[in-house]
Amino acid sequence: MTTLERRTEGQLERRPDGQRRHRYSPVTWVRGGGLTNLVFLLPLLIVFGVFSWTPIVEAVVMSVQHTNLVTPATFVGVNNFVQVFKDPLFWTAVRNTGLFALLALIFGYPLPLILAVLMSEVRKAKGLFSALAYLPVVVPPVVAVLLWKFFYDASPTGVFNTVLHWVGIAPQPWIQNATSAMPSLVLEATWAAAGGTIIIYLAALTGVAPELYDAAEVDGSSIWQKIWHVTLPQLRGVLLVTLILQIIGTSQVFLEPFLFTNGGPANATVTILQLIYRYAFENSLGGNYGAATALSILLALFLAILSFVYFRITKSWSDN
C-alpha cells in the first residue's frame, strides 16, 4: 500500500520521471504502478486498437488493394482511385453532395441565428421556446425521414399538397422530380437539425458580456446597431465553427437520400456516402471494397482540409 501511495503522490505531483528511471525492472515497474496504469488503460487500448486505429490503417491499405474476401488481397496501386474517377456517377455524387451542402447552408445557416437572436430576448417561458425549437432534433432521424416521406406524397391528397391547396398553390412533385428532390431533402434535414444550431447560438448569446451592450447604449446605438456592432462580432467564432461543422456533416449525408429517394429520381440525389455504400454493399455479386475505401479516403482528405481551416479559426478565436 505504501508503494502505491508514494507512486500516486509522485504522479500527482508530477515528479520528474528521471528520478525513477535508473532502477527500472519488471518488479519495480509493477510496484511503481505500471501494471495498474495498464489495467486502467486496457479497455481503451482494446476498443480503440481494434475498432478505431486498426480500421483506419486498414482503410488506407485497402484503398490500394483489390479485395473480395475470397481470394487474397492484391496490390493494385491507384487503380481504385482511377476507377472512382472514371465512374460517371462519381461526378454526379460530388455535384449532388455539393448541392446538398450549399442548400443546407442557405436554408439552415441564417435562419437559426435570426431565431436565436429573437428567442434570446424572450422574457417569459424561454424554456418553452427552446423546447419547441429543439423538439425535431429529438425525433429519431429515421422516423423524421419516414414521416416526411409521407408528407411529401406528390398526389393532390398528400399532406403538404393539401396544405398548399388551402392557400391556393398547385400540388408540387416534391421528391418525385429531379429538380425539386434535393431541396425537399434539405428542407427535412434543416427541420431536423436547426433546433440544435439555435441552442448553440442561444448559449453563445448569453455569453456576450452585458457591459458591451451598456457601452454601445452610452454611444446611443439602436437595437439594430447593437446587433450589428456587438452581437454578431461576438458570435463570430461560434458562427465559423457551426459553418465548418455543418459542411463536415452535410458532406457525409446518407440517411436522407437513402431513405427518401434511394438516390433517385434519375440519380438526382445520389451522394458521395451513398456511392461508397453502393460500391461496398449494394453489388449483388460481392462488394467492391477497394473503390469504396478509395472514395472514403478522398472524402476524408477533403474534410481534413476543412478541419484544418476550422482549427486555425478556432485557434485564432480562442487566442483573442
Binding site: 500500500m1 502505491l4 501511495e5 500516486t8 503522490e9 504522479q11 504502478g33 495498474t36 486502467f40 488503460l41 481503451l44 487500448l45 476498443v47 480503440f48 475498432f51 478505431s52 486505429w53 486498426t54 480500421p55 483506419i56 482503410a59 429573437l118 430576448e121 421556446f129 427552446s130 423546447a131 423538439l135 429529438v138 425525433v139 429519431p140 422516423v143 419516414l146 406524397d153 391528397t157 427541420w191 437539425a193 433546433g195 440544435g196 441552442i199 448553440i200 448559449a203 448569453t206 456576450v208 458580456a209 452585458p210 451598456d214 447604449e217 447593437k226 461560434v238 440517411l255 461508397i276 455504400y277 461496398a280 454493399f281 469504396a292 472514403s296 476524408a300 474534410l303 481534413a304 478565436w317
Partner: protein, 330 residues
C-alpha cells in the same frame, strides 16, 4: 467547475458527430439560465428599450408570431403523427389533414406492438442503448483516469492517438470496421447479428475521452491528497473518489450515448440483419412497404414517444448535474 463552463468549452472543440455540440451547449444554456447572478437579465434589448411601447410591442408581437411558428413547425408534425397513428388508413390517405373524420382506431397501436412485433425492436433498442452506454462509460472513465490522473509516461502518445481519430470522418471506418466485425481478431466468430457489433465500436468514442480527461484534469488535487492520506490506492481512488465527483460529466456522456444509440441507422443496419436483434431505426424502413399505413404510422409514433419523453427527463437531469458540479467546486 460547472457543467456549463465545461461544456461551453466543448463547442470550441472538434466533434465528430454534429449532434454532440448542440446538446452540450444546450446544457450550458440551461445551467446558466438557472443561476440568477448570471447575465440572464440583460440582452440586446435594454431595460430602457423595454419601457418604450413601440419597441416593447414590436418584440412582443414578433415573439408571439415566433411561438406560433415554433408550435406549427416543431410540434405540428408530431401532433399530426399522433393523430394519424390512430386514424384508419383510408382517412389518412384521402384527407390527411382532417381530424378523425370517421372516428378513432386505437387497435393500430396494439397491432403495431403485437402483430407487427415492434415491441421486440423496442426492447432491442433499449438493449443497444444500455450496452453502448455502459461500454462508453467504462472505456471513458478508466481511460480518462489513467490518462489524466495516473499519467503514465506514454500517456501523451495514447492521448494524441485517441484525439487524432477525431479528425477521421466516420465514413472511412465504414468498410474496414465492417470487415473487422465479420472477422474479429482472436475470436474466431463473426460478430454480425450480435449486439457486440454495435457496442464495441460505440466504445471507441474519442469525444468521450476528451471530455472525461478534461474534467479529471480540472478536479481539485487536494481531494486526492486527502484520499491518499486516508490510505486509498488507485482503485479506491478511482471508485470512491473520482467517480462520485464525476457525476456531471458521466451524465453528459450517458445522455450522448443513449441518444446516439437511439438515432444510429447505417451502422446497425449493416451489422444487424436479423429482425430479431434490430433496433427500431433499422426495422422501421423495412416495414414501410410491408404493413398497412395506419399500423405503420402507429409504429412511427411509438418509436418517437420514448425519445420525446426522455428529452423531458433530461431537463431535470441537467439541473441535478449542474447542482452537483457546483458542489464539487465548493
Amino acid at each position: 467547475m460547472t457543467t456549463g463552463a465545461l461544456t461551453s468549452e466543448l463547442v470550441a472543440d472538434p466533434g465528430p458527430e454534429r449532434a454532440a455540440p448542440p446538446t452540450a451547449t444546450r446544457q450550458a444554456k440551461r445551467g446558466k439560465s438557472r443561476s440568477p447572478e448570471d447575465s440572464a437579465d440583460r440582452g440586446i434589448v435594454s431595460a430602457n428599450d423595454w419601457r418604450r411601447p413601440r419597441i416593447k410591442w414590436t418584440w412582443r408581437v414578433s415573439h408571439g408570431i415566433l411561438l406560433v411558428l415554433l408550435i406549427i413547425v416543431g410540434l405540428g408534425p408530431l401532433l399530426w403523427l399522433a393523430k394519424s397513428a390512430i386514424t384508419p388508413t383510408v382517412d389518412t390517405l384521402q384527407n390527411p389533414m382532417a381530424i378523425f373524420p370517421h372516428g378513432v382506431d386505437w387497435s393500430t397501436l396494439s397491432n403495431a406492438w403485437n402483430k407487427v412485433g415492434i415491441g421486440v425492436q423496442f426492447m432491442n433498442t433499449l438493449w443497444i442503448a444500455v450496452g453502448s452506454w455502459f461500454l462508453q462509460l467504462l472505456v471513458a472513465t478508466t481511460g480518462g483516469f489513467a490518462l489524466a490522473i495516473l499519467r503514465p509516461k506514454y500517456g501523451k502518445i495514447i492521448n494524441a492517438l485517441v484525439l487524432s481519430t477525431l479528425f477521421v470522418p466516420a465514413v472511412v471506418l465504414l468498410v474496414p470496421l465492417y470487415l473487422t466485425i465479420l472477422h474479429p481478431p482472436l475470436i474466431n466468430q463473426s460478430l454480425i447479428n450480435t449486439y457486440w457489433a454495435v457496442w464495441l465500436p460505440a466504445g471507441a468514442n474519442a469525444f468521450n475521452i476528451l471530455l472525461v480527461t478534461r474534467f479529471f484534469n480540472n478536479l481539485p488535487r487536494e481531494v486526492f491528497e486527502a484520499a491518499k492520506t486516508d490510505g486509498a490506492g488507485p482503485f479506491r481512488l478511482f471508485w470512491s473518489v473520482v467517480l462520485p465527483m464525476s457525476k456531471p460529466i458521466l451524465g453528459v456522456i450517458s445522455v450522448f450515448a443513449i441518444i446516439n444509440a437511439w438515432k444510429d441507422y447505417l451502422w446497425p443496419f449493416l451489422v444487424l440483419r436479423d429482425p430479431g436483434v434490430q433496433p427500431l431505426s433499422v426495422r422501421l424502413p423495412s416495414l414501410q412497404q410491408a404493413i398497412q399505413l395506419d399500423v405503420y404510422l402507429a409504429a412511427l409514433a411509438i418509436s418517437t414517444l420514448i425519445p420525446v419523453v426522455l428529452f423531458l427527463i433530461f431537463q431535470g437531469m441537467f439541473l441535478r448535474s449542474a447542482g452537483l458540479g457546483g458542489a464539487v467546486k465548493g
